[in-house]
Amino acid sequence: MDLISHLAGGFAEIADPLVLLFVLIGAIVGMVFGAAPGLTATSAIVLFLPVTYAMGPTTSMALLLGIYCSGYFAGSIPAILLNTPGAPGSAATALDGYTLAMQGHGDRAIITAIVSSFVGGLFSLTLLALIAPSLARVALSFTSVEYFTFALVGIVCVAGISRGSMVKGLAAAFIGILASTVGLDPVSGVGRFLFGQPNLMGGIPTTAALIGLFAVAQMLLLSTKRRDDAEVLPAQETTPVSVVIGDLVRNKWLTLKSAAIGALIGILPGTGPSIASWVSYSDALRTAKPGDKYGKGEVKGVIACEVSNNAVTGGALVPLLTLGIPGDPVTAVLIGALMIQGFETGPFFIPQNTELFYAILLLLLVSNILMLVIGISGRKLAAKILQIPHGIMVPCILVVAGAGAFSIASNPFYLKLVIIFGLLGYLMVRFKFPTAPAVLGIVLGPILEQNLRNALTANQMDPTIFFTRPISLVTLMFMCLLLWAWLKPTKQKKGKATDAEMSG
């Protein structure tokens, strides 16, 4: 009953041609950025954030959520056609998708990716609608103790993102945490690492670090790279959408399971689509039936990855809107976008801005539908983005990045920060350190530090408080479980890496 009136209120918010126009623009921008290798949904949102300063909250969310949904999907187009994931979250899709394309079934793989993304998006949206309002109420009973353990799980998850080298992932996260200690000490108010520069008092803004680490670093990398010609694919046969829907219906359990994995991983602070798609892909492998040809062109492989990486979207908004803790790098930017509009994310967000919350839900729905429509009708065109010469793309993006950096706080100082972080990001990518954990380190670092110190201050410096509060205890046990799950297989593969990982 209440729900219906709220939904009606939400409808009223978004039933504005301008709002709908911006969802559409967002969906197209997301598609372009997602499809272009090196540009991700995250960089698109960062670059378009300054555009939203002058908009109302609903319009601004419309643009950003439009980018968010279709950007997460579009990375799979180059993954399938070029074996070059447009975004890290689509890396797993390339395994089966590209093989399908080589067999002439590229179109089928792309449509599967689109429809799977849509299903995943819808699933997580429903979850967000159902649990966020009640979780917000529960969240009001959380103290620094709980926030600290949540952020700790986040950092552990960050390490998990970086499959292959957990040590490098952790190292990147610590680089981020180190950067987050710059500025006025959040508990005592004393300046740290200021180097006599008053502009550093406010710390390093996440947005400046993001622009540097993602956009600038990637552009530097592109400008040093010679253009690879795409391998010649056989002529692709067109596949009707109905066939793909049949595939999904046949594999309904796989679809549902992948959606649940994606949404849950989205809810965990610090994790994103990359880990979601790998986890559900490996789970699909684990439960493979005889006759499945995973890795050799199996549609189910595409389904598992794509359902779960888009199911992250709704899930990641849960901790953002209820606790004010971002679920992935994109939602970290959304905090900033909402703050500029005068909204503080946290337990009060949903009760005080119910209309906006439901508008966000509906916008997600609209974005998902647009993603489906634009994706299916424009999939051939999207592949063309891959052919934009670097000589044009790199300078354009850098100019936009510079303007974005300045507009964070009308402070020219932040341009310098962006250049520094761009160089840092370039070095990190060159030496195969993932950059996403660094950004999450910057976001989660202060949450960890402040809540640890606050929890201890408020409890007479008694560390047992983390084990005596039930939610905190359960969270810590969950973290141990995650660590065990992640460290165990690595141990079996190569024993000598174990020591470094245990100490990390």
Partner: protein, 325 residues
């Protein structure tokens, strides 16, 4: 409307560059656009206040007012950059009790109390103290007696060195009370801590409270007292500290400052424009929206008020190890 503002801003920025090249200040100040630096992000109370003032000041000064948001470190970054900007009378900034009276005493602030010329105090909000609705403390006296009785209570406010933090710290020190401060990044975060039971009481400007109280008077919090001379118009049921037997006056306020050494005529013109704006009854209605009280003080009075507050804050900051040597 907003898009127009941006276009206007761009045009004005270009005009400022040109104006900067023009020879010394003419007698009929102002001859060009005036910039007001808001050291907080868009959308916050300080920003809204500046944006409310801008059209009224434009009307009185006859020149466009450009708002520049430069957030960071609770207002200190924007003011540090203001301190080193050109004192030509065309750049002002919004300061507050904490950024002008406390921050200069503290370590690594990037400016001192001599960095600015005071122009006009604009508005104030009385400091208040609140507990959760299910708290055993019904009055300010209950709370004070509990602390005196040896109970170890915790409290929070919006950030160390912020107005609400200092207001409560000074009150506790004046009454020889000790309680544990748990830090928050904003008033809202501190409010969450109060409601979750993590802290026992909350210190914050009066504007924190009315939105928490329903139309029927029900609320999750109980405001114990406000540190004002008389009862506050927006919360007439809440007693003052004095009524409760603990005389104490403290408010969070905002005022205009400029880099030290600006022409006297610029100070006078701007200060007069602020005063006239605040006296306008239509403008007072708009202040109601944000629960601000008009609190004009002229340049000298404002400087005196800052000095007085700095004297109250200094021992607190020294004890907390925050004062510069």
């Amino acid at each position: 409307m907003k898009y127009l503002d941006i276009l206007k801003g761009a045009a004005v920025a270009a005009a400022v560059t040109v104006a900067g090249l023009a020879p010394a200040l003419a007698q009929d100040y102002p001859t060009g656009p005036v910039t007001i630096v808001v050291p907080f992000g868009q959308g916050g109370a300080t920003d809204q206040l500046a944006r409310m003032f801008a059209p009224a000041l434009e009307e009185r000064l006859g020149q466009p007012i450009v708002i520049v948001n430069q957030p960071g470190a609770g207002g200190a970054v924007g003011l540090a950059n203001l301190a080193v900007s050109r004192p030509d009378g065309y750049t002002f900034g919004v300061g507050s009790d904490s950024t002008l009276a406390a921050r200069p005493i503290m370590d690594s602030s990037g400016y001192t109390s001599e960095s600015f010329d005071t122009v006009a105090r604009m508005v104030s909000i009385p400091s208040g103290i609140a507990v959760a609705a299910d708290s055993p403390y019904e009055t300010l006296d209950d709370l004070v007696q509990a602390i005196r009785g040896g109970e170890n209570l915790t409290w929070s406010g919006s950030g160390i060195g912020s107005g609400p933090h200092l207001a409560m710290a000074v009150f506790l020190a004046q009454n020889d009370l000790e309680a544990t401060y748990v830090n928050s990044n904003s008033g809202q975060e501190a409010m969450v801590k109060l409601l979750s039971g993590e802290v026992d009481f909350f210190s914050g400007g009066g504007s924190n409270y009315p939105p928490m109280i329903g139309d029927d008077g029900s609320s999750d919090i109980r405001v114990l007292a406000l540190a004002a001379e008389e009862r506050w118009q927006y919360l007439p049921d809440v007693p003052t500290h004095t009524e409760e037997g603990y005389p104490y006056l403290r408010s969070q306020w905002f005022g205009l400052v400029a880099p030290a050494g600006i022409p006297q005529e610029a100070i006078d013109a701007m200060s007069a424009a602020v005063q006239e704006t605040l006296e306008d009854p239509a403008f007072q209605d708009r202040l109601d929206q944000f629960y601000f009280n008009p609190a004009y003080l002229g340049p000298q009075e404002m400087a005196a008020a800052i000095e007085e507050e700095a004297a109250a804050f200094r021992p607190i900051l020294e004890e907390a190890g925050l004062a510069a040597d």
